[in-house]
Each structure stands twice: as structure tokens, then as C-alpha cells.
Symmetry: C2
DNA sequence: TAGATTGTTAATCGATTAACAATC
DNA sequence: TAGATTGTTAATCGATTAACAATC
């Protein structure tokens, strides 16, 4: 019986486990139990143990998990032990804000190229090392560098077309800020970030 | 047997149904089937019918749903037929970008006050009608206007404290951009938006 | 009427939790 | 050793899907 793949919902929790462990390590905590980790994250200890068990055995009975070790294991599992160059499309207010995030500047997901269709924005310098370019040059730039991750911060009307361009350039993971559902090939992962939809679901309860 | 409350996961899908219907209405489409709506959204027709059935009967057998009618019903259910004034805390790059979103300017969630703890930012004008104020005046401003929704766009280190301040002011729903889990009273709804966690879960598959 | 599609029930599928033997 | 906590199995819970009578 082959080991079961971790469900996507489990994979999506791992970054939160990883972050909690990184914070614990910064506090010089050396060991943590599933009980404690769960309390921090609002998750049951059983769920944490079950989630981790999809990927291996990381703890010691009677003791718990070594903080630094488990953090490093999760980093390796999520491929967070390396950088992923990112291409940003859309240099409006949101794109500009994202370009200044530390994680997108020196962090794990450096934005290395920005494109926009608005000629008024071309050559604008978003950062020391980042100049807005015309979308026409996108394919070339992405292929040359082997970039696989894209962030879409364009208006809804342009999103589908731009997304197809990204996919044609070899992008396999897209973080989509445009409030529209993208239709893309199966192999491309898309995650939407939509603050309005989130707020609208919250006001239901008010 | 009392009717069952809709699960939260259903409520979270309604904004997407609502948006698709609004777009269909703009195309002057008058009627839509669960089949068609599901195809647009990448959801099964059965799921759409089941989801809607938590809230009432909105369709006609053999025909489908009247687009404008169902859109309006969903608007009423989600309380999207009114404005919700929003308070923004954090006037950095992200907060500034959010302040310029149309939906947060003239839309359903107008940001009516911005606070920041950095004196250098005080009195900065984010928009025609929006000036950054010291956090000290927050409670007063929120209570005066009866604001119930907050957006948190401050660094992780300040988030918990600021969130507690918001709750003390009567805020009941928080959209949290800080990469940290907030511990707040049960009655306060919190939704996190964390692009890094999302990207990290996607790179697992690359 | 005949064809289509809803609303709902029952079946299926998948995720979470409880419980406990293994063992540090 | 005694106490604690893991990893895993089985039980439970909840969400999705399939199917179909009702009916437009």
C-alpha cells in the first residue's frame, strides 16, 4: 500500500506550523509538544500529529518535537529552504506595495521583474533594483530566468489574458489578486486573494 | 426540526456566486442554471443548489434562476445591500494601497478613518477625504461612528495589541494582513490574508 | 405535452477527532 | 521506573455528490 499523498488542506496548514516553529526558535525554545503548538495555532493536537504523519515521523514519544529540527524539516518539505524568484504583473498601488514587502525584496520570494501594460508606468522605478517594463518583453524575461511563480495584480478585465501569457512563459503558480476566476490548464496552481469576498462573508454574521 | 444554519464554508462561497451573478446581469443575461453558474465558478451544480437551499428557494424547476433576483437575494443575505464603514489601522505601503481601492473609497466598504502609531505619518493625506491619525484617538472615532469592521495592516509585532484596541472599540470583524494569529474574544470574526503562506503552500507542488 | 431543472434525500467521500499501544 | 507524548487506527463528524420526485 503506497503512502497516501497529503491532502491539499494539510499542505495549506504547514506554513502556519512552520512560522510558529520559527517564532518558538527565536524565543530559544528547544522542544514543543503537539499540545502546545496546537494551542498557539488554534488547532487540535491530534490534527497536528496527523498532518505531520503524512510526511514522516518527526517527534519523540514522551518528549514532543525538537523545534529547530521540525522547522527545518517543514522548510524542506515546503521547499522554503530556497528562494523562488517571482514575476509581478501590475504596477498599480497594490503591485507597488507588494514590491516593498521585505519578503518580496530580500526574502524567500524576491520579485525580480515587474510588468505593466500602461506606458505611463514604464521605466518607473519601484525599488532600487526594479523597473516597470512593458508586458511585451515578459516572455523573454521569464524564460531567461526560469521563473515559475507569478503574482497578478492587474484589473479584473486584463487578468485572464495576462494569466495566459504567464502560463505561456512557463509560470506554474499564480497568486491572483484580481477578483475573477482564472481558467488555466490543470497543471497551473492558482490561489486567489480577495479581501472583498472575505469581508462580504464576514458581514453575514454581523 | 429547526432549519440548519448554513456552514461557514457555504457562507464563504456566496460572495463568489454573487459576483458571478452581477457579471451575468451586466451582460444582460436574465436566467442562469446551476449547471451554468457552476461551470463559471468551477463548482458542481449540486453544490450550488445545496448551498442556496440553506437560505431559501430561489429557482424555478425547468428554468433555473432569475439572475437579477438571485443576485439581489444574495446581496440581502450577505448584507451587501448596504455600506459597511471600515476603519484601517496601518498607513504603510499596504494600507495606502488599500485606501485607494475603489471598493474601499466609494464602494461597499468605505474606509472612513485611518490610524497609525508612527508620528511621521500623522496628518498625511492618503486620499482627498482621509488623513492619518494617531492611534490614541481611535476609540473615540470608532465609537462615535458605530464602525464594526476593521482592517489591520500593521507589522506583526503590533498586531495583537492593536487588534485588542479595535475590539475594545466595538469592532466585530477584522481583516488581518499581519502574519500572526490573533487571540480575540469568541464573538469577533477574524480572517487572515497572508500571501506568503499561500505562496509557500503552492511551492510544495512545484 | 415533453424537456429541463429545481430542491431535497440518501449515499459517498473525505477530514477531524478520540483513543491507545508503543516508547522515549 | 513512572509520566508524558508520539504515531496510527478506528470512530465520528461534516461536506460533497448522485439521484430523483416534483414541477415549471
Amino acid at each position: 500500500m503506497p503512502p497516501k499523498d497529503a491532502p491539499d488542506i494539510v499542505v495549506r496548514r504547514l506554513p502556519y506550523y512552520m512560522r510558529a516553529l520559527a517564532q518558538a526558535a527565536e524565543r530559544d525554545q528547544t522542544v514543543v509538544s503537539s499540545q502546545e503548538l496546537g494551542a498557539w495555532l488554534g488547532v487540535s493536537p491530534a490534527q497536528i500529529r496527523k498532518d505531520l504523519s503524512y510526511f514522516g515521523e518527526f517527534g519523540k514519544q514522551g518528549l514532543g518535537y525538537e523545534v529547530a529540527y521540525l522547522r527545518d524539516q517543514l522548510r524542506a518539505i515546503l521547499r522554503a529552504d530556497r528562494d523562488w524568484q517571482v514575476v509581478l504583473v501590475g504596477a498599480g498601488a497594490l503591485g507597488t506595495a507588494l514590491a516593498h514587502y521585505p519578503v518580496f525584496t530580500y526574502g524567500q520570494f524576491p520579485i525580480v521583474a515587474v510588468f505593466d501594460n500602461d506606458p505611463a508606468k514604464h521605466d518607473r522605478r519601484l525599488r532600487e533594483d526594479l523597473v516597470v517594463q512593458p508586458v511585451a518583453g515578459m516572455e523573454q524575461a521569464i524564460c531567461d530566468r526560469g521563473i515559475r511563480v507569478g503574482i497578478l495584480a492587474v484589473p479584473a478585465g486584463a487578468a485572464q489574458e495576462v494569466a495566459e501569457g504567464l502560463v505561456a512563459c512557463g509560470i506554474e503558480a499564480i497568486l491572483n489578486y484580481a477578483p475573477i476566476r482564472l481558467s488555466l490548464p490543470e497543471h497551473v496552481r492558482v490561489q486567489d486573494i480577495d479581501p472583498v469576498a472575505v469581508l462580504q462573508s464576514m458581514t453575514y454574521y454581523l
